[in-house]
Every structure is written in C-alpha cells, then in structure tokens.
Symmetry: D2
Subunit: 411 residues, 4 copies
C-alpha cells in the first residue's frame, strides 16, 4: 500500500508511535460510538495517560515537545485510521497547544515573558483546550459573537456551531468581535467550562463524525475574567498573520486525519478483494481486471495525498518552526496558506473518492451498516466542510492569489 | 434547473403525472422511514389506489398500458425525487410487469396463448411481484440457488440478498440453477409469499435506501408448484437475450430514480444558496462566484444524465417496443445492453457527484442528520451497486464489446 | 462503436447521406491541406455539386430543405469525421442559411414579404455566405467594428479574426456597432467579396484546423450599400433573442463536428489495437486489460456526447422549428441557450479526451506527424474556443442562470 | 505561482542554478527548432561548457558530483520550462551518467575495481552517451534487437525507435537480447557513433518534441568490441533490479521536464490574463471569475505535481543514494518503481491539463502557431508515452502490485 508518511523528528516519531499504539482500541470502539452518537471519553482519558494529549507542549512543561507541524499531522493521520471523530477532536486541542508553544517560543526568542509559560504548564498538566470558532451565518474572520464591556467586566454573547471536542474540553477559546475601542477588532475569550451563561447544547447529530461531540455552544452573557481575554489589533474582517498560521499549520492535522480514513478504507477493501471469491471460478476478486484498476486508482490517489501532506508539512515547518517567530512575514504567510489550501482541497476530495472506491470494491457488503466502510464513508465526507475555506471558496481564493488580486478569502 | 425529462406517450404522461401527485406525501414520510429503517407500506397502498402499481399492465388487463420503457423510467424519476427507497422498490415490481406484458405481446403477435394473459390479469388486479435475483458470492448469470426435483415436486434451496420490496411483495420471482436435465440451466421459480421454507429475514440495515426493505431471503426447501416453475434453455453462466433485455430495459427505471435523487438535492441546494445569507454583507450566497461555479457543475451534470437517459430510453423503445418481439436479435440486444451500461455507469456516478456538490453548497447544514440532503447523500450511493454490472465490471465489459472480444460480463 | 446519431427527417437523412458520400475524398485530402495550411477549395466545389451547400435552403429556392437543426448537425458530424476544417467552415455558411430560412418562414407565417426570399434564391443558386463575428479584444455582443454614416453612405471599419471560410465566401455577414441614432445598437453589414477597403489577410497559421482558412479580415472604410445593411434594435452589449438563437442552433453543428473528430480518432485507435501485436506473446493489444479500459472510457464518453447532441438538438427543434417563429420567447431562448452551453461545454471537452486516449492507445505511433491522429489531436483542441461562451465564461453563465442571477454571459 | 521545487544538496543547487542560466537562450531558440524540426546542437555545446552535461559525474572525474536523483530532476525541470526537447534529450545522457556513477560507487564500497572509473572519466571529459532502448512492437524488457556471436565477435542487429539525443550522442547504449548461452538474457551493447552498420535514420517528425532528434536507429550487423558488451544475468522478459532502478530514478528527470513545460505554460497564461483586457469594461481578464477558477485549477494541479516529484525524489534518494549500493533489495525496488509510476502517471497527465487550461485562458491567441503555448501544448503531450509504463499499462501494474499479484508490467 505505498509508502506511508513517517515523522522525522525524534519527538515526532515517539508521538506517532504512541498514536499507533492507541489504534486497535480506538477502532474497536468506533462503530458503537458512531451508532450511538456518543463521545469517546475513554479515548481521551487514555491519550492523557499516553502523553498524546501533551504532544505539542514543550518538554520543559511536561509535554512530548513535538514542534514539527508535519510530525503532529502524521500522528493525527494514524488516529484518523482508527477513529476519525477522535482525530479531529484531538486536533482542536493539539493545534491550540502548538500555537501556544509557538507564541511562547517567540517570547523566549525576544527575551520577553508574557505568561504563555504558565498556560503551557496547565496544558502539560492535563488541561484540555479547544478552539471554538465556527458560527452559523458567517465565516472565521467575521465572528458575530460579541465581547463587550458591561459593568466593568467582559461579557460574551453569541452562538457557536460545530464545537468539536466540547464534551471533554476544560477551556474554550472563543473567537469573537470586540467593538469597545470604537472600531471592530477580533478578540479571543478563554471561557472555562461551567461558566454561567455557557450552554453546551448536546445536540450533535450528523451524517458522520458522530462521535466528535460537535455540539452547538451558546454564550449568553458569560462573564470572562480580564486575564482570559485577548483583544487583538486585527480589524474584524481581515485575514491576519495569526489566521494564516492557524488556518494552515493549525489544520494540517485535520487533513491528515481524513487521509487516515481513506487509507483505512483502502486497506479494508484490499483485504476484502484478496480474500473474497465469486462463482463460477471461486477465484479471489483481486484477480479481476476491473478490481485491479480501482485498486490502482486508490493507490495513485493515496500517493497524491501523501505527497501533498508531506510537502506542505515541510514548507510549513521550514517557515514556522525552523525560523525565528519574529521573522513571520504576512505576505509569505498568505502564500503558505494558499499552498496549504491547495493541498487541503485535493486531499479532502481524494480521500472521499478513495473511500467511495473502497465501497465499490466491497461489492455491496460495505454499504451495510455493520461494515466499517459505511462509517468511513460518512466520516470522510466531513473533510471539505473543515474551516478555513471550503470548496465553495477555495478555488476563487487560490485563483485570486495566483493572479495577484486582493481577497479576504470569502466573498 | 434545465429541462426535465418528459414522457411522450399518452399513457406515459398519465403515469408520470400520477407519480408526481404522490411526491409531496412520499417525501414528507421519507426521513422518518429512513431513520427508523421501516418500509413505507402506505406508499404502496396509495400507489395501488392511484394506479401507479399497474402502470406497465396493458389496459385490457386493468393497467395504465405504459409500454414505453422510457416513459416508465420517467415516472420512477419523479418518485426518486420524493423517496429513493420507494422508487427502487417499485421498479422491482414494474420491471417484472413490463417484461410480462412484453412476453404477452410476443404471444399475441405469434397467435400463441401461453397464459401470460392470466398472470397479467392478476397484476392488473393488484398482485405485487418482485424479482429476487442477487445472491452473495456470485453474479446474476451464475445463480447458486438450486431448483431440484425431490419426491415428484420442485424444491428450492438458496439464499438471496438485497431483496428490495420484500415487505409487501406477494410473489417472488426467484432466479436459480436447475441441474435436472444433466446440464446446468437457468430457471425461474415463482414463490408465493408465506410458502413454508421461505424466510424473509427482516434484516435490512444499511447506509442508505433504508426504507427499501432489501432483506435477505432464505429458501430452505420451499416446494414450488409445477405451474410456477419455468425452466429456461439458457445454460447456466450465459448471458441470454432475456438477461440483456431485463438488464437494460428492466433497470433503466433504477437509473432514473437515482437521477431523481440528484435533481432533488440540486434543487434543495439552489433554494438554500438563494435564501441563505452570510456576514459581513448579508447578501445571498448565490451571488458568490464559487457557489455559482458549483451550481453550474450540477446543472451541467444533470444535463448529461438526462440526455443519457433520454437517448438510451429512445434506443430501448425503438428496439424493444416499436418492433415485433420476434425480431429480437441477441447481437443487437448485447449492443443495446452495452450502450445502457455506459449510461448507467455515468448517471449513477454523476448523481453521486451532484448530491455531493449540493452538500458542499449547503455549507455544513446539509451534513446534519435533520437535513434531507444527508439522506439523499446516503441513498444516492446505492446506485453503482445496482445489478447488472457494477463499476467493478462495467468498464471491462464495455471495452471488450467495443473491441470485439467475447465476454460474459463478469470475469 | 455504440449508436451513431441518425437524422429523423427525410430531408435530413438525404443530407446526411450526401455528407457521408463526401467522407472518403475529404479525408484523403485532409492531411495534405493540414500540413500546407491550404484551404480545401475542391471540397467546397464538390459540396456545391452534391447539394450539401444548399442543405438548409428551402426546396422552393433550390435547396434540400433541411429545417431540423439536429439533422443539419448530424451531417456536419459526418463531415467532421473526414475533415474538421471543412466541417467548421461549412457551418459558417449553413448556419447563416438556416437563420435566413427561418426568418423567411417567420415572414410567411405573418403574411409579410421582406425579401428574405430573394436572398434565399441566391443561396439556392450557389452563393456562399459566412458569418464574420469574432474580434480580438471583445466578445460577440460588444463588437467594436463600427458602421457609420459618412457622406450619405454606410462605411465599415474594424478588424475581425478567425474568419473561417473566408477563402471561398462570396458574402460576409459582419456584426458591428452602429452609433448613428445617438445610442449604440448592434448592426449587420453584408459585405461582398472584393469590396474596396476589405482585406482578407491570408494569415491563418494555427495549431490545428489549419485548412479552415480562418484569416483575419480588415474592413478599412468599406462602403456598404444601404440594401446590405441591417440596423437592429438590440442595444450594443445585450444578449438578444437573435443571439440566443444563433448562439445555440447556429453552432450546434460545430459541436457535432468536434464529436465527429473524436469518433474518427476512437475508430482509428480501435483498429490499431485490434491489429497491432506486441512481443513476447504477439497477441493483439486489444486483449490487454489496460487497453480495454481506455477503449471503454472512449465508448462511454462518446455515448455521453451523442446523447447531449441528440437531446439538445431535439429541444432546439421543438422550440425553434416545430413552433411558429412569432412564438419565440426570450426567456425560453435563454434557457435553451444555457442548456446548449452545457452540451457544448461537455462535448468539446470530452471530444478532446477521446482523441487523447486514442493517442495513448496508439502507443506512440499516433504522435508521429504522419499519423492522422496527430492532426485530429490538434484539430479537436479548437472546440472550446468556438463562440459563444468559452470555458472561461460558460460555467459562470450557467451557474448564474441556474441561480436566477442576471448575466450578459461575459463578465 | 506556488513554491517551485528547490535542490537541497550543494552540488544540486549549483546544477540547478546553471540550468536556470541556460533558460533564456534555450527558450529563445525553441520555437525555431520546433518549426524546423532541427536539433539544438548549440544548446548541447553550451551545456558542455557550463558543466550541465557533466552534472551527474563525480567531482573526482571532472563532474559536478550531483548524486541526488531529486536534485538532478529539478535541474531538468528548469530546462523543461525553456525547451522540452532539450530537457528530455539531456536526460538520456544524464541518467546514464547517474547509473554509471552509482555502479562506480558500488564498486568502491565493495573495494572492487571494474573499470567504471575510466568510463566516468570519459563522461567527465565530454563524452555524450545515450540510452537506446525503445523498439517498435515490443517493450523494454523484451528487446528484439539481437546481440550474437559471429566469427569471433559480437554482432548487433535490430531497429530502435524514439532515439532521442541521437544527433549529438557519441556512444549508444543499446539494450538487446543475447541467446548465446542457450537461454535468452538481456544484454547491453555500447555502440560508438559511426560504427559501420549503424544507421541513424534522421526521420524524426512528430506532433511535438520536434527538436529532440528522436530518430529511428537501425543496427544492421554492427560489430561491437568485446569490451563494449555487457551480458547480464537477467533473463529476457524479466524486470530486473536494474530495470526498476533505471525505470524510476533514471526517468524522474523526464517527469520533471514535463512539469517544467506545464509551469511555463501556466506562467504565460497568468501573464496574459493580467495584461490583456476586453471590451466593454477593458478591465484585465484576470478579474473575471471564470478566469480565476481556471487559474486556481492550474495552481492546484501544479502543487500536486510538485509534491509528487518532491516526495518521489526523496524516497528514491533515501533508497538509492543514501544507502550502500549493495543493500539494494529487489522487493523494495519494485515498490519504489510502483510508487514512481503513480507519480509519473499523475504528473504527465496533469501537466497536459495545465497546458490545456493555459490555452483556454489565452482565449484563442494561444492556438496560433506563433504562440509558444501552441508548442508547449504539442510538447507536453509526449509525456505519457515515456517508458517504462504508459497509461495503457500503469494502472494494471500498480493495481496488481497493490493487491499482491505477480506481474511483469506489460501484459
């Protein structure tokens, strides 16, 4: 089945190995959680124990110290093979850890001390954090959730959707709009689970990724301590350097998880056609030309997906990990973001096609609810919805950047 | 939304109109039956009343007298828009009616009288019949279900799968193998519902088409009256003229039903993007270039599908309806069958792609279980599994016929 | 090789038969004209004799009386198989004849008499006319060629490109802009060959369609008699009913010609793989699975193309031929035009893909200049450039129409 | 335009830089050589001077010492942008140099001394060598050119086709069959230019790559000195470890050259739509949604191609450059070869699609012979014909390997 992606840093290899060790258990639970729409809490407990949850936290704060975005994505790739829901929920946490570790590195490089260290210590100690960005009726750079000053404290009002990981998250990093300074800027509120006014709706019921706990979350006048608010200088509606970074490095792991789903489906299909036979000759289906052709198309598409992840991961690592944080260049970040969007666009699509062919190869068996292929087919379809930039938006964005035309990515 | 297919015969127009009249009710029930995996018995009761069930029965036997395969398919297309499960289950019955009516026409043309008339009278009177062909581990021309002579009567043993329509069928047309004459031939047993030894397993639970009642059916020593057995002269394992006919004309309606699913999904998506708005400008999504591009791709693919169904329907009608039955030419029937396979291959695939784009256009909303798009996405995926010739087999078959190389279609 | 398209009217069948009769001779000359970039004058002489040039002229004016757009396209399909350049050049003439005949029919239906009859008599007598619309730097609805009143007569100034058929045309139907009434309107000037100021540049030298004589034509102050000018009421820059008609019915034959090129290439490839053998087994290449798969893809794509042409032709005939001309409805004409654009978009693309696969099947031989496949590959690539609406514009147009958004098709 | 591929070794960077320095001159000559079908002898003279011809020769023998297959391919990628014919002709030489240098490394690792050093010294001194493998009517592992013992010397008889680089090659590495030992084995004859009985037919005349000098070469009883013959132990008709190596590492540069053609076409198209305007608004075409969509598709496809080349190059370098030659494992070599075939299959196809879109974006101008796009369109189509494994064979091969079914790749 071709050459799978391999981590290249020592910490990354260790991380990938631990992710692989979870595989059999996670996969064994996946169908039941999918059927019942339950969140695999036990998976996250086990990943706390194994250290997978602390992967992106620097070693000095108790983590595995994986700095490479590429290597993190490869671990998520392995988890995606076992259970897509777990993988995408984990990324909500890991990407926030990675961003925090990078901010900390920037502080250290500058000789600053702004306290990212204490946050990383919490993450190293087991705190589960999740990004909570998506909202109905708008896009990532135009959050409608409002952070406003009321009676001397910060108050948060709005509704988020697709709140993946919410069943076990301790802290919610909520993107919002702040109009306090007379002009609209982006802001972030870190809301502790259980804060009055926060309502996790427990209403996730979807075609796939049914175990991801992607509930709606309503913030109805939550009071957020000043220390847990960050007002950025980025005007509302502008793609900032930070968004370019999170929107590429922070979501590479999602793309890798969808590749994992496709890899698993392709593997199951190969196993089926090598062992299943058919009358009248009762020879394995694998000997038939049509089956070989479809198997080849899967092999080719997986090669394409792996290559795109490999290269994009290297480009991101070169720009965001190997260089001083202060060297971040918004123009290059947009270029990287655009390159990443190409990879995401292709991998998410081809992953769907690979699972689709696996279904075809299964000859009808895979269409039955009891087949893991049926779950994989539903799960993999979530890929193109992942933010930022869906197939509704990505080509226009990529085309404009290629042609030197300004764009905010959404209209 | 382009030009939909329209019936051309008077009987066909009447049939299509009655199918359309069922649409709203069937669609209103579809999501609940899908969720619960229940068979829409009430739909079939209503179609008995409306005459839709008797569409392919000649008027003299109480039917609507639709002889055109193309027009029958167009009615199924309309039902497919409302509920795919109902449409494909109905085709199991309608195609058998059409084949029977054609056999009767052949008898009349030859001045014969073999009794198809009395069978058509039963169908005109409300009898529900279904073809029961598919088996695990083999293909349509190599049935492993055995019909054998035991103690002076015919006994049937075997296991069928994908027994769509089984919850309400009165009579099961079971394809089987008969070795009585010293060599293996194809045979057909008409098994009355409730015959001892027949076990409808009530076990259909699949990704989609969940309301189609496609249960496994086990025949464990069913005694079949001599009058309900037909031993053909076609050797086991050979594609007969009859199979070419059933495998094309008899399944065009299935393809049309899947087009219906795609048309409905595309329509829902258009409605969504025309009414839904997004921050910051709160203009309809339909104004965005990326959305327009995807809508165009759907429009173009639907035009392709309709054209293929239109033309294939005309070719089938010209060969199988407009000419005397006795003029059937096996060589031309294979050519027609091959042309039909091309149409089926493309339409089933493009129908999936259209629903997929509708999901994309929905922006995540369509991925929620409550959206009809989620059901349409699961239902439409059943298309390529429909027999005869799946995507595992069709290209090799079509290629061989194009190159003048002999093939039985499966190996 | 599947079911080719067949004419359905008597006149159409006669026309197609005469086109087929030219095939062998035209194909025999095609490679030489392609190599030398010469116009096949002799083909047009022979088509004058055979009556093919007068196909769309009513019988009363000496023509074959083919009214069906679909049947005309099928004749061009046959010529496309022999020589694409001849086919597209002929369409320049035939489409103008068809439009003229339709205008005449409208006059007759209204009891009018505007003189289209005398023009048809000229066409029936052998006059060769060509549309001359395309210009560099603009599109069909924004012609920059100016018709203006100077010293009491009409004067024409501008530059046209892609003047296919110009080597033998007697009369040039030049689309232009007229600003005389104080506002810009579309106008048509019928310029007789040899008019002073008209310069056919004899500069056509392209990748393919090298025998089509598609020279630039410069009109540098040509004086056009008042009787040969038609000022329309359509504002400059508006898609008129007339443009919808010409842009669909008038160019269906081009699409059919490109299908013919693809059919011929596919046929040559099948012949090659059935006869060519390879070591070590020296069996025909047609027996190899990969070859069969590619042959199937060609067969499937040809079925798609034929179905689209068949259906679009029927829709056009139903709206533009079977009904009174006065019933023309601009809204329906746009819908038809849009449906036609879908067909054009797919057929032009798939025709390229079919020839490409034929090259692949040829195993390198087809890449040599001496192979007709090399010419077919270059010729077929012209398809997507044909006006109106190239792949740069068609999806956006189709999407907007599907979504109910106003568009002029170009921006 | 995304991130181009960059060499990673010092020698590789130097090589790529020198290749880039040739670009402008080579591109300036390309159209004339293409039109006239002449070989760009001056390019090869200049590459002798610049050292590009000696790139793969170790420094100790006077070369640049580029060992990385990936870096060599990247240099050819740059040349491909300027002139595809030059790039593929150069690869005929460079790949043979690389294989020779690797054989030498193996000897050194083993402490052997078989004389590869002296051959490398010749290459370092300016000798031009070319592989001469392709034959009509057979494939690479079944050469029909015979090497036989006649009158105490070796005699060569056979006909080779597609003899790219033949106009300037000094030495021809001819693959052949030798039956002397009683069983058929593969053999190699190194034939010096001008050897009696060798006839370079000077007959290359093709759709594209017209400047590549890919003439037929006939060996009609050439006497080959014993020192210039190598009889291998690989039976005729078997894929050997050597063939896996040459068929992957030895042809990666070809794939990279075709990517270069696509990159150049995409760049030309971007330039055109950014500068060309159209009535009525006279805004750059780049502002149109349809144009942006096509530009995005090119950008995405180029990202796919670059990623595949990058990853495949790394995999090849890891297995064939970073490890001792003696560690070569035939099983892994086949796996690598298969992975390479996936990359080749996709890149060659997507390169064609990119150039095709560039033509579309050019709006007709690119179809004119004077446009470099017309040449690029013809040149890029040669890609899929490159051996080993064309699209007629590659999917079946890849599918079989994925399914664990034995195959020799051709039947």
């Amino acid at each position: 089945m071709g050459y799978q992606l391999e981590a290249e840093s020592d910490a990354g290899r260790e991380f990938v190995s631990r992710c692989e060790a979870h595989g059999a258990d996670f996969e064994a639970r996946a169908d039941a959680h999918d059927r019942d729409g339950t969140f695999p809490v036990e998976n996250f407990e086990e990943m706390k124990v194994s250290g997978v949850m602390r992967a992106a936290v620097p070693e000095e704060f108790g983590g595995l110290g994986v700095a490479s975005i590429r290597d993190l994505a490869i671990g998520l790739n392995r988890l995606g093979r076992a259970d897509g829901s777990t993988a995408i929920a984990l990324n909500m946490h890991l990407s926030t850890c990675w961003v925090s570790a990078r901010l900390h590195r920037g502080e250290v490089e500058q000789g600053e001390s702004t306290g990212m260290g204490s946050f990383l210590a919490l993450l190293g100690g087991g705190l589960v954090v999740m990004a909570n960005a998506t909202e109905p009726g708008t896009d990532n750079i135009h959050p409608l959730t409002e952070l406003s000053r009321v009676d001397g404290h910060w108050e948060l009002r709005g509704r988020k959707s697709f709140g993946t990981l919410s069943p076990v998250a301790d802290l919610f990093l909520v993107t919002c709009r702040c109009r306090e300074g007379g002009h609209d800027v982006r802001a972030f509120a870190f809301v502790t689970r259980g804060t009055p006014g926060m309502d996790i709706r427990d209403n996730w019921d979807a075609l796939g990724m049914r175990a991801s706990g992607s509930h709606d979350i309503v913030y109805d006048g939550c009071i957020v301590p000043d220390t847990q608010v960050r007002i950025s200088e980025t005007p509302w509606g502008v793609q900032s350097a930070e968004e370019f970074t999170i929107g590429s490095a922070g979501t590479l792991g999602l793309v890798a998880a969808f590749l994992g789903i496709a890899e698993r489906a392709a593997e199951l299909a190969v196993d089926m056609v090598r062992t299943r036979t058919k009358a009248p000759d009762d020879r394995p289906l694998a000997e038939r030309a049509g089956v070989q052709h479809l198997a080849a198309e899967n092999e080719i598409d997986l090669a394409v997906c792996r290559a795109l992840l490999d290269r994009t991961g290297r480009l991101l690592d070169a720009a965001l990990v190997a260089r001083p944080v202060a060297d971040d260049d918004p123009v290059e970040l947009q270029r990287l973001f655009t390159e990443f969007q190409s990879a995401k666009h292709v991998v998410n699509r081809k992953a769907i096609e690979v699972v689709d062919r696996a279904l075809t190869l299964s000859g009808g068996v895979g269409y039955l609810s009891k087949s893991p292929l049926a779950r994989l087919y539903r799960d993999v379809r979530a890929g193109p919805f992942m933010q930022p930039l869906s197939p509704n938006e990505a080509p226009a964005y990529i085309g404009k950047v290629a042609l030197g035309i300004e764009t905010d990515g959404y209209s």
